[in-house]
Every structure is written in structure tokens, then in C-alpha cells.
């Protein structure tokens, strides 16, 4: 399919593809097995200028746009979702700064992020605040010129490895969701510590940790936006990042499809390569069609985001839901086509299948996002259609 990519978008895609093939594929199994954080690959991505695709040029970024960012995520995801999760979560953590940071905060943090010198993490989830983000219990109390943070964030991607954290905490519990605020907290701030690295089913090289705040004092200026805007910050951030999760689903599906086609051409049963059998052909045909449909949706949503429209909650949720469901289904089918080999760790598809599952869960479960889409449909109809 010709998606009419620009010259720069093609360059970014090819560069990410080269990094994925030459630097990620050879080490992905070992990183998965031993849960090794992909610092070596982050360094290569930084040297290749890919860490700053989403950051404006005045802060040292490449300002390449949403679609270019999706292309980079897709290519990395073909090789390893753990790596692409590290990469995409960095952008996720940056969005609150980009959209709500003061000029000073942007000058202070964005150039290092764009250069890949410091990683970022976004901290919203807590033990009692998953799909129901209004259940946040972490508090931030103003005391003189400082906010004092107390509470625990759970399952934070890039936790412990990142040096900059964008954290949602309650400044006024009595106001519910309107009492949440967003802050920047730097690693090393007294009172800010980490739990152990979680042992996960998939994306095992990606770091997931608890963030623990115990009377952690941060400068008042670390507030992003104004008090009470925390929920808005979180929602706008997630609207922007969800299409990227869709691109992860697209990428892992495309990677699994490639493996399935390759295997089906080589595997001989009943005297013929199994790709000649209609049962296999039909499975591959459905997989390939789903991948292309996911790609068309993800790219279109990215272009919509670039066009400057204000509200794209519904379509970015659609890209995430559709493409990550495709990711789960296609990786599962790839394991089926590889049969016993697919179940073995010598082949990459079992890892792809384990990895893909998280995409239906994080950054809004696919059930919650269907709620978002449904509610938008209701609102649109109430406004008199679209």
C-alpha cells in the first residue's frame, strides 16, 4: 500500500527499521529472558536523533510529527515490544511537559529528553486507581514554596530508569477529579524512591516499578499548568499517546505475520511447504488484511492529530483498540501457524504473543476505551450528528 509518506517520514521509518534489525533483533531474546533494560538501544536511538521526533526544534527535537513517530514505534515494535514500550513511554512522559509546561520547564527538560540524555516516565496509575483514575490517593500539599508529595504509584513504565517523572497527585481531595494536579519530579529528590522491578509476562526488558513518595518536597514551580488541571493533563496526554499504542499493536502484528509467512514457506508437510495449503493461506490472508487495516487506521489517526483538530479522543481510542486487538489476534495466529515451533523460545513468535497482551491492557484497557468511543457517539448524536 502506498501511504504517500514524505521523504523525511521514509527516512525515519528506514532508520528505525535498520536499528530494529541490526541492534534489537540480535539481543531481544536475551533481554526478554533476563529482563535487561534496553539502555544500549536507547543510546543508539539517541545517537540516531530518534528520541526527539515528538519535540519541537527550538528544544533540540526533530519536530517530525505524529505519523513519523508512529512509523518509528511500528518498526521497533516489529522487533521487540519491550523496546518500543520504553521508547513510546518516553514520549508519553514528555507530553504533559510539552502541553502544560512553563517556558522555563520546557527549556530545562526538553533538550535533554530530545537528545536522549534523560528518560521520562508518566505516573498516573495506583493500586486503587486503574481504569477509575479518579481514585488517585497520592497527595500533594502546598507548604510554603514547596509541594509535599505522599503516596505510591504502581506499574510505572520506565520507573527507576527514567530521571524525569510527570506525576498526577491530588491537591484537593474534596474536589474529586477536579482536585488532581500534574507535577514534574526528578529522580534523586529526597523522599522519592522506587519499588522492585516487576516480573512480567511480556515486555520483560521494559522497566515497570512502583514510585514511592514519602514527604517528598518539590519546588512549587514543578506544578504543570494550574492546580486542578491534573485530570485534563492526563486525558490530553493519553489521547496523544494512545495512537502510539495502536502503532505498537500494528508493529507486533506485522512482525508476527512476517515470521509466519517465512515459516510457512519453509515448513514442509505432506510433501509441500505448508503455505500451499488453503487452511494456512486463509489464516495468513486474514492476518495480512488485519495488519493493513490497522496500519491504515493508525496512519489516518496520526494524520488527523497532525491536522490540528482539537478533539481526537474517539479516533485515537479506535486506533488503540483496533490495532492492539489485531496485535493479539495476529501474534496468536502466528504461534498457531508455527505450531510446536511457535511455542518454543527458539522462535520469536511466542514472545510476540506474550508481549502483545499488555497492549490490550495499558494506557486504558480496550474495554474502557470502548466506553470512551461509545460515550463520544452518544455526545455526537446529542449534538445532532456528525
Amino acid at each position: 500500500m502506498d501511504y504517500q509518506l514524505t521523504e523525511e517520514q521514509v527516512m525515519i521509518r528506514d532508520l528505525a527499521r535498520q536499528i530494529a534489525r541490526e541492534r534489537v533483533v540480535p539481543v531481544r531474546a536475551e533481554m526478554d529472558e533476563n529482563g535487561i533494560f534496553p539502555w544500549d538501544i536507547v543510546k543508539v536511538l539517541a545517537e540516531s536523533d530518534l528520541m526527539g521526533l515528538h519535540i519541537p526544534q527550538e528544544y533540540g527535537g526533530m519536530a517530525s510529527g505524529a505519523l513519523a513517530h508512529m512509523l518509528a514505534i511500528e518498526e521497533l515494535s516489529k522487533a521487540c515490544l519491550g523496546v518500543s514500550t520504553t521508547y513510546a513511554a518516553n514520549a508519553l512522559g514528555t507530553f504533559p511537559l510539552l502541553f502544560f509546561g512553563s517556558e522555563d520547564a520546557k527549556q530545562k527538560y526538553l533538550p535533554d529528553i530530545a537528545a536522549g540524555k534523560r528518560l521520562v516516565a508518566f505516573a498516573l496509575t495506583e493500586a486503587n486507581a486503574g481504569s477509575d483514575a479518579s481514585g488517585i490517593q497520592t497527595t500533594a500539599k502546598l507548604d510554603g514554596n514547596e509541594y509535599v508529595l505522599n503516596g505510591t504509584k504502581q506499574w510505572i513504565t520506565n520507573g527507576g530508569e527514567a530521571e524525569i517523572y510527570t506525576v498526577i497527585a491530588m491537591t484537593d481531595k474534596s474536589r474529586g477529579a477536579r482536585g488532581a494536579s500534574a507535577f514534574v519530579v526528578e529522580k534523586g529528590t529526597p523522599g522519592f524512591t522506587f519499588g522492585k522491578k516487576e516480573d512480567k509476562m511480556g515486555i520483560r526488558c521494559s522497566a515497570t516499578r512502583e514510585l514511592v513518595f514519602e514527604n517528598c518536597r518539590i519546588p512549587k514551580d514543578n506544578l504543570l499548568g494550574r492546580e486542578g488541571m491534573g485530570f485534563l493533563v492526563a486525558m490530553k496526554t493519553l489521547d496523544h499517546s494512545r495512537c502510539g499504542v495502536g502503532s505498537q499493536g500494528l508493529g507486533v502484528a506485522a512482525g508476527a505475520l512476517d515470521e509466519a509467512v517465512k515459516f510457512a514457506r519453509e515448513r514442509v508437510q505432506f510433501g509441500h511447504p505448508i503455505i500451499g495449503f488453503q487452511a494456512i493461506q486463509h489464516m495468513l490472508a486474514d492476518m495480512a488484511t488485519a495488519v493493513e487495516a490497522a496500519r491504515a487506521l493508525v496512519y489516518s489517526v496520526a494524520r488527523t492529530m497532525e491536522s490540528g483538530v482539537k478533539d481526537f479522543s474517539k479516533v485515537s481510542a479506535m486506533a488503540k483498540v483496533f490495532a492492539t486487538d489485531v496485535g493479539m489476534r495476529v501474534t496468536t495466529d502466528a504461534v498457531q501457524i508455527l505450531g510446536g515451533s511457535g511455542y518454543m523460545k527458539e522462535y520469536p513468535v511466542e514472545k510476540m504473543m506474550r508481549d502483545a497482551k499488555i497492549l490490550q491492557i495499558f494506557e486504558g484497557t480496550n474495554q474502557i476505551l470502548r466506553n470512551v468511543i461509545g460515550q463520544e457517539l452518544n455526545k455526537e448524536a446529542a449534538r445532532g450528528g456528525n
Binding site: 527516512m11 532508520l15 535498520q18 540516531s48
Partner: protein, 259 residues
């Protein structure tokens, strides 16, 4: 520091097939790549420049007009500029004529350091680097596996040998040839790719170099290829089995029987 790195565009030998009847390489449809050893040379040049905190790296090549692609690829990696020596007069050059032309071209740049790959994967002669140094009348160290120390006056390197390595210190200007142990070549950057897209590759022809006509191309090339052949496979091999003691005595009696 002014650094020149010599780059050759070669067919990707991993993709080349042999014409069994003519005993020649089938080059049609085979992708062209930067000679892999030259990638190590480029990396060495770039890292010396970065450590020195300044200077220029110029990639040069001799070849047909399409060899420009190899120079653009070098710019993607961070090389400052590319110069291509291209002229029909160079056609049929052997390593001597090639080295003479490259040396004449390099002398117009007068660099402090020249890097080459140890050999090209198509010809595999490993002659051009040292020959260029001889034409320029400067020292060279071939098979460099490590750069130990760099100053404006001297560079100390390790030279890979069959049985270990030599530590060699040399004055400048100097030419080095790189082995793959020297470094891990970097990948291109996005800014590099954008720069390469826009870069103007300077072209030079035979007329730009003061080389007598008889010393150019085929007429300047004393090398003649008499025959191309596939060497006979060497004799069979034997794997010994059993306990260590049994293997040792089996090996000893085999060796005694051969005496």
C-alpha cells in the same frame, strides 16, 4: 585535525553468485554497499574527530558515477564531505594505478590522518592502503585493531598480528588500515540522512590530477589476471571420539603413521 577516509563501493558479496561456466562474478542485480572494512575506517575517523573536539572528515572514493551513493552513505554517518574521483580514464585500474590516483587526489587535501579499510571484499588484495602511503611518502600501519592515544604530534595504535599484536607509535601524517576488531560502526542519524540528501559531492577527474597518461587506468596497471579458478577443496577431516586418553593415543598413532 584533518582526516581523510577512503571508501570503496563494492557488490554485496553475501548476495553475489558465481557464473560457473565463465568463472566470473554475476554482478547484475546485486546491491552495492560500502566495503564493510571501510565502515570501520569511517567509524575510526569520526571517533578521532569527536575526541579531538573538532576537525573535518572527508570521505573519498574512486569509481563510476554511481559510487557517489557510497559517499552519501558516509555523510549519513557523520562525515563532513565527500569527493569522488570519476573518469573513464581510470577504467581498468589495478591496485597500483588506483593507489597512484588516490594519492594524487589526497595530496590536494593534505590530511593529518588517512584511514582505509584493510581490504575490499571484492578484490581482497589489501594493497591499496599501503600503496597510497608509499606514493604519498608517509608512514602507514596496516591492520589497526585499536587506537591507543592521539595527539597532534603522534598516534599510538595496536596492529593485529597472527600471534598477538604490536604496539606502534607513529608521527603524522600517517595512513592506517582498519580491521573489524577496531570498533563497532555506528548507524546513521536522522540529521545525517538529511544532510546527505542535500550534500553536494565534489567530483574530480583525471585532468584535476597531474598524472602522466601512461600511468592511468589500464595502461598504468601492470597486474594481469592469468586465470580465475575455484581452489580444490582440501582433504577430508577426521573427528576422534572416546575418552581423552583414547583420543590422545589415536591421534599419536595417526601422526606416527603419517611420518
Amino acid at each position: 585535525m584533518k582526516i581523510v577516509v577512503c571508501v570503496k563501493q563494492v557488490p554485496d558479496t553475501a548476495e553475489v553468485k558465481l557464473d560457473r561456466e565463465k568463472n566470473t562474478l554475476i554482478r547484475d542485480g546485486v546491491p552495492s554497499i560500502i566495503n564493510p572494512y571501510d565502515r570501520h575506517a569511517i567509524e575510526a575517523a569520526l571517533s578521532i574527530k569527536e575526541q579531538a573536539g573538532g576537525g573535518t572528515v572527508t570521505a573519498i572514493s574512486m569509481g563510476p558515477p554511481q559510487a557517489e551513493a557510497a559517499l552519501r552513505e558516509a555523510i549519513e554517518l557523520g562525515v563532513d564531505e565527500g569527493v569522488l574521483l570519476t573518469d573513464r580514464a581510470f577504467a581498468g585500474s589495478d591496485t597500483l594505478a588506483t593507489s597512484r590516483a588516490l594519492a594524487a587526489m589526497i595530496s590536494t587535501i593534505s590530511p593529518d590522518v588517512i584511514f582505509c579499510g584493510k581490504q575490499a571484499i571484492d578484490g581482497d588484495t589489501a594493497q591499496v592502503g599501503p600503496e597510497v602511503a608509499e606514493f604519498l611518502g608517509i608512514p602507514h600501519v596496516a591492520y589497526v585493531r585499536k587506537i591507543v592515544a592521539v595527539s597532534a604530534a603522534a598516534i599510538r595504535v595496536e596492529r593485529l598480528m597472527d600471534d598477538g599484536y604490536d604496539v606502534v607509535e607513529t608521527s603524522l601524517p600517517v595512513l592506517f588500515t582498519a580491521v573489524k576488531e577496531l570498533n563497532t560502526p555506528r548507524l546513521p542519524s536522522l540529521r545525517g540522512k538529511m544532510a546527505a540528501k542535500k550534500a553536494v559531492i565534489k567530483k574530480m577527474t583525471a585532468a584535476d590530477l597531474a598524472i602522466p597518461e601512461g600511468e592511468l587506468g589500464l595502461s598504468g596497471s601492470p597486474t594481469q589476471v592469468n586465470r580465475v579458478f575455484t581452489p580444490e577443496a582440501r582433504g577430508g577431516r577426521k573427528t576422534l571420539s572416546g575418552s581423552l586418553d583414547e583420543q590422545v593415543s589415536a591421534l599419536a598413532s595417526e601422526l606416527l603413521a603419517m611420518r
